[in-house]
Amino acid sequence: MSPSRWFDAATRSGVDFVAGVPCSYLAPFFAACQELPPTAFLRATREDHAVAACAGAWLGGRTPLAVMQNSGLGYCLEALASLHLLYGLPLPMLVSDRGTPSDFEEHRFLGQRTRALLDLFAIPWLDGVRGQEDQAMDWLLTTAARGSRPAVVLVGPEERG
């Protein structure tokens, strides 16, 4: 057991490559990633590079997971559109859901449009529920693999970890 329920759920479900940019909601997750082998965890400089590296890892035979704050989704759109969605590459994504009414104002504009943005790009998403991380991660990997596309689990303030 690691300090992160999301990390434990990810490793249990078969994830063996993580690339991402940290969010404070997922600080325990990123702390747990320090225990991964150096070839299984990429500290990405930007979220678009994280998803592109995940494409490389999947093509190389791994089961990748991209992890980021929802503010990074904007950077990812071109890579998602002309890499994962174009070639049909599975991409499970764990994305923090910033921008709830109690959150800082800098998170609100994109935060309030996260689900609409994912719908617009035909990316299936699921709201994470505390205590049901294993089910959410199974849904995420299955949806991405079966659809050969990105899929997202959103981690809100009550589900952080």
Binding site: T39, T45, A52, G56, L59, G60, E78, L83
Partner: protein
């Protein structure tokens, strides 16, 4: 040396096991025209992600991974090259075909035409980085680059006009990805 010459030169030095990621645009199309092989991934879009895709492969695979990049693409994805310098995968070999322009879109000059990208790569943490400006030295430079400790970057100057444009690759993107992944799954 034009871009097609440079691509054919690099491909001639590769072995059958090498994994190639070819940058979107003219580089992918000319790489396909030069030598189609299942272990080459042809990018069609996602400009700037050549290094990041190659890094994901290099972290995952034991074989040599060759990133066949252009200077405009490299500039857009310089923060991806920075990750390569940070992770330092020994099996990653990056070549930048440097013509100082965005050739695929009509030859518009980049902001960094003339910049020594080997100096940039050395600063980012690549273990080996060289720039080759003269055609007679290019074959030797390619041989040295592939024998160097990785990650290694070779900036190859492209100073002659492009050939007739190569046609689009006659495969669907899904077929390209599935063929590439299947080739890597073979023992």
């Amino acid at each position: 040396m034009n871009r097609g010459d440079a691509i054919r030169l690099v491909m001639a030095y590769l072995s059958a096991d090498d994994i190639v990621v070819a940058a979107d645009g003219a580089i992918s199309r000319e790489t396909y025209a030069a030598l189609d092989r299942p272990r080459t991934f042809y990018m069609l879009g996602s400009m700037g992600q050549v290094g990041a895709i190659a890094l994901g492969l290099a972290m995952t695979r034991l074989e040599r991974v060759v990133a066949l990049d252009g200077d405009g693409n490299f500039l857009m994805g310089a923060s991806g090259a920075l990750m390569i310098g940070g992770v330092r995968p020994a099996n990653l070999f990056h070549v930048v075909l440097d013509n100082g322009t965005y050739a695929t879109t009509g030859g518009q000059p980049t902001v960094a035409a003339g910049m020594d990208l080997a100096v940039v790569a050395a600063g980012l943490g690549y273990r080996w980085a060289r720039r080759c400006l003269s055609d007679p030295h290019a074959p030797g430079a390619v041989a040295q680059w592939l024998a160097a400790p990785g990650p290694a970057l070779l900036a190859l100057a492209i100073n002659e006009p492009d050939e007739e444009p190569a046609g689009r690759i006659p495969m669907t993107p899904e077929a390209m990805a599935r063929r590439f992944r299947a080739a890597l799954e073979e023992p």
